[in-house]
């Protein structure tokens, strides 16, 4: 489960990542989080502008090191999907964090065990 600090519209993230890897192995991470990524450009049938509300930041720390820091903008599709890879060099905790433009955020922690080659 994720930690919430007032999660805003950020849904429960889904993360695919192995629990174990060999040292030097390239590990794939796939993340998906429910969020409308409201652009601020949409107008309802009543003529009202739907206010902008986006996840503006996604970060991943691996054993304390910031390995990915993404700035997201309205051109990102709803329910932001981000897929990346990293070299598993040591056991440690991966911390994934999504931050909404309201300051609301969600954080998910996952442990990766790396077997020495």
């Amino acid at each position: 489960m994720s930690e919430e600090q007032g999660a805003g519209l950020i849904g429960e993230p889904r993360i695919r990542l192995p629990d174990r890897a060999r040292a030097g192995e390239v590990v794939q991470v796939r993340t998906l989080v429910a969020h409308p990524m409201e652009t601020g450009y949409r107008i309802t049938t009543n003529g009202e502008t739907v206010p902008r509300r986006i996840i503006e930041r996604f970060r991943c720390r691996y054993d304390g090191r910031l390995i990915l820091d993404a700035e997201l903008r309205p051109a990102m599709a709803a329910n932001p999907y981000l897929e990346f890879r990293f070299v598993a060099d040591r056991s440690g905790e991966l911390v994934f964090e999504w931050i909404e433009d309201t300051g609301a955020r969600r954080r998910v922690r996952r442990r990766l065990e790396v077997d020495e080659a």
Partner: protein
């Protein structure tokens, strides 16, 4: 030579394509974004690999993969620019070792345009690759008549 109805339609179709293309491929849209993101710096061609379908039915969610050219030193940032979106600067990501300098995601495209990926190195140099993506139905034009407003 007599003009058949078919030939006339073909000619009209060709005219339409010529009329639409310059708008889709206009470079000055990109200039404004480059100015905002990079100041006076402008990217050279290449240094980054962009994978995206050249024809998509819906602009609401378009799968994109950006990766650094493995034959060049590792860039610090990767950027994605959608020149014809209302907010053309779409994504910036900083990837540091041991992360591999690549990212796959899904973006919105307001219409047919040259999706552009940019790599940025520590010394400030830039490399860009553009792929023309034809979008049958742009993002955010949905069944509720909600629409983009510029």
């Amino acid at each position: 030579m007599r003009f058949s109805r078919r030939r006339l339609l073909e000619a009209a179709g060709a005219g339409l394509v010529i009329a639409v293309l310059p708008r889709a491929l206009r470079a000055d849209d990109l200039e404004a974004v480059f100015g905002r993101l990079f100041g006076d710096r402008r990217p050279e061609d290449g240094g980054v690999i962009l994978q995206v379908s050249s024809l998509v039915e819906s602009g609401n969610s378009v799968a994109v993969t950006v990766r650094a050219d493995p034959d060049r030193p590792r860039p610090r940032h990767l950027h994605l620019v959608m020149p014809r979106n209302p907010t053309p600067w779409g994504l910036s990501v900083e990837l540091q070792a041991p992360a591999v300098p690549e990212l796959a995601t899904r973006v919105r495209l307001a219409g047919t345009q040259n999706l552009t990926a940019i790599a940025e190195w520590d010394d400030g140099s830039l490399g860009a690759t553009a792929v023309s993506v034809m979008v049958t139905r742009g993002a955010c034009i949905d069944e509720n008549f909600e629409q983009w407003v510029r």
